[in-house]
Amino acid sequence: MKRAAIIIFAALFAFVLIVAMLELSALPSPKVNLPAAVAANMAASGVEHPVTAVLLNFRGYDTLLEIAVLLLVLLVVLAVSPREGKAPAASHEPVLQVLARVAVPVMLLAAVYLLWAGAHRPGGAFQAGAVLGAAAVLLHLAGLLPGWNAPRLFMRAGLAGGFLVFLVVASALLANGALLHFPPEFAGALILLIEAGLTVSLGLILAGLFLFLA
């Protein structure tokens, strides 16, 4: 009974929403034109790709808080994960191991490329970090990398380092008038610094979300 009611309600909601969106699409375009504002300020953003400019400059504050979300979730994972007795690496398939040994160096190369490409085409720190994290998970699944124990200081510094670099840059720029207020001439270099730091930390965090629990 409850089940049927929820399904009917959900279907009705989807229908109403689609009708409302069709009605919206018949209206003229909104007066606020953010794509034009983004295009007009691209020169001062320090990068050439509009999505990267929005992510790290125009709405860089969102990105700062987003990294805080990842870091805090990692803390919870560490807090609830078993404290010792990590299982040994899972598989010993020779084929998988050979594949992993070939793939991982290519993945590292791809991560560096993605980081560098972010300035002028799709790419950037998160994508690069995701590839790094995936490489670590692949090594674990192939039986070449054991699960991680509770992090020591060095590891913790690696996990939080990217966020701290971002935070220090954001607050240092208060001297320039506002939080994350990049001076146009240094914006490109500072964004690259932040993205490089984030790539390493995001790779470790994403790998850690898997390997601290392994």
């Binding site: 409302a20 560490l78 954001a170």
Partner: protein, 484 residues
Amino acid sequence: MTEFFDPLAWLILLPLFWASGAFLLGPTRGARLAIVGVAAQLWLAIDLAVKVGDGGTAIRHAVGGWGAPLGIDLIADGLAAAMLLLTHMVALPLLLYARGYFAADASVARYFWPLSGFLLAGLNALFLAADLFNLYVTLEIVGLAAVGLVAAGGNATQIAAGLRYLFATLIGSGMYLLGVALIYGAYGTVSIATLTPLINASAASAVWIAAALMLLGLMLKTALFPFHYWLPPAHGGAPAPVSALLSALVVKASFYLILRLWLGPFAPLTGTIAWLPALLGSAAILWGSWQAIRAVRLKMLVAYSTIAQLGYLFLIFPLLGPDGLALQAGGMQVVAHGLAKAAMFAAAGAMIHVTGRDAVADVAGVASRMPVSLFAFALAGVTLMGLPPSGGFLAKWLLIDAALTQGQWWLVAVIIAGGLLAAIYVFRVLRQAFLVPAQGERRHLSHRAPPLLEWTAFTLAAASVLLGLRGVDLLRLLAVGSGP
């Protein structure tokens, strides 16, 4: 251009810095760093409240120097400044309390300090945000940090409560996010200041759906009856300092956002349905109080009392008018309940710490062994019942005043009934505390509570009562830059 030590920016940066620092120090460390950090934040919050109160206008910080709608703005008006002040007035005693509470066994609260730093950063960012999408990110920080604090203890009850809370908060923020997507589709911006003049009663139906989704999602996060199911296990099952932070501050954050949206961009859409939140609020007062009266466990009693007290906040919606009376009543209730509920959870935690048991029946004999904690519990109860001179009295008085002015008699009846029901559950605990425990039970009272636990609870309770005497200043602050 703003100065380097702009309180708006540092209220968000500072907790992020000490949270990261506490993480670097290790799983059970960082207490001193956190307490120094929150003390500095309290100073910033006072500084901001004075600036906003004296200046009489909202203070703005354009992050990135772009300004809305391209960039993201931070705005501190009277309501935001009051929320920031409350947050730190509650957080500083509670962190001192937590230090005493976790001193015996630090392993039950791994990463408590960095997580509470992220929680405070999220709350501060939420109170200052003026951008719907940025608000989504801050809502997620607050929600996930709160779930983390509930679950971090790691026993099965806490994990299950954490998961239940997690799904509730994720559905809530998912609905909010869908609303933001529809708003961006309709207006091409998510800046609240830019949107407010654009939205009117002839808005497209997608905008109405967006408003409904966002407000409903936030009501789920605020645990408004009948969406309250997740709150008692989460708030009743967490360690006492966490319960106190959650009940005093986290649920208020989503209420604050409902109020912001209701008075701001969605004001033209909400006029005709203002009775609905008030109806649900009334139901919350009656149901929550009833559950508190029959609760077996002490912390469950306090958690159900939170559901009842949150109900009062929703009574203000049909009364919101140009005189600002109802808004002041709501703001006063938020602050008074925040202080009182933090005190109540802290006192309950101290009692459970000493007796080693958590049933209401087990507080028998506490009166002679822990008079300070019991007195703190009673003072907090005075605020919840709404007796003078407490902040709770002032809030309920303003609310009744606003209801009488507008002829809403049924609200007056609900408010008075809620006060009487609160008296029943508070006196239920006090009566039990003065009973002499049975012979075999005496050994449970063998050791005394650490003074730090008792006195921080007492400070919070005293603040909630004395708030009534300084209420005029708070009301003046709440009036800055608010109203329709």
